[in-house]
Amino acid sequence: MCKPVNIRVAGFGGQGIMMFGQMLAYCATNDNMFSLWVPSYGPETRGGTANCSVIVSTKMINSPVFTNADVLVAFNQPSLEKFKEMIVPGGCILYNSSMIHDPILPEGVRGYGIPINDIALELGTIQVSNMTMLGAYLEFSELFSDATAEKVLEKYLGEKKAHLLGINKQAILRGREALRALKG
């Protein structure tokens, strides 16, 4: 990887958008890469939508902002509409196909729909839909190993939420599988 990867993540408040982004940034730090996570913040996160951006890079990151992203991870329809035009040609959109049906994507952009709500509900709780998406992203990007992701996840959940580790790991796995199936 010589160019930094610019990733935009967006969805409803409550869908775990921020955690998704932070997990990527933590993974990068864990693997001695550079990373930068930028949230949208403030009252607009109240109720409405939430989004954040992540940059992962093997060299020092200069500009913390980007207009054109390499990847969009869209957790719901409005987010897809809002951000899809920002994806560079050759870029990619991962979307939540449980909530987004038959999306129209910009030309030259690949799309992968993962039914993360459904998978998460199958696993027992909608709460892990974001980690399902993370699994898909990891599979897609080949940026970080499972070992890295699991180590970071463990830290992220901490002692208090250690009991959720298993289900979250499972979600990552299921996400990977789903993406692999799509990639064919």
Binding site: F12, G13, G14, G47, G48, N76, P78
Partner: protein, 73 residues
């Protein structure tokens, strides 16, 4: 003849907070987790419209003023 109430909801503005549900004395309101509005909230629905007594407790407690209550004697 008891008073009979009729509710209408401006569902796109519903935030799924459940206050109306909690204060309905005849317990006929519920949140439908399967119907999200454009804001992403589950919206309020009514189980048994016939049982509504038109007390307007739901409407009074709704912070977003989305419930209209009409009554007929």
């Amino acid at each position: 003849m008891p008073i009979k109430g009729y509710l209408t909801f401006e569902s796109e503005k519903c935030k799924g907070c459940g206050l109306c549900v909690a204060f309905c004395p005849v317990k006929i309101l519920y949140l439908d987790k399967n119907t999200l509005n454009q804001q992403g909230y589950p919206i309020v629905k009514i189980t048994d419209p016939d049982k509504c007594i038109g007390c307007a407790s739901c409407a009074l407690m709704c912070p977003d003023s989305i419930i209209t209550v009409e009554v007929k004697n």
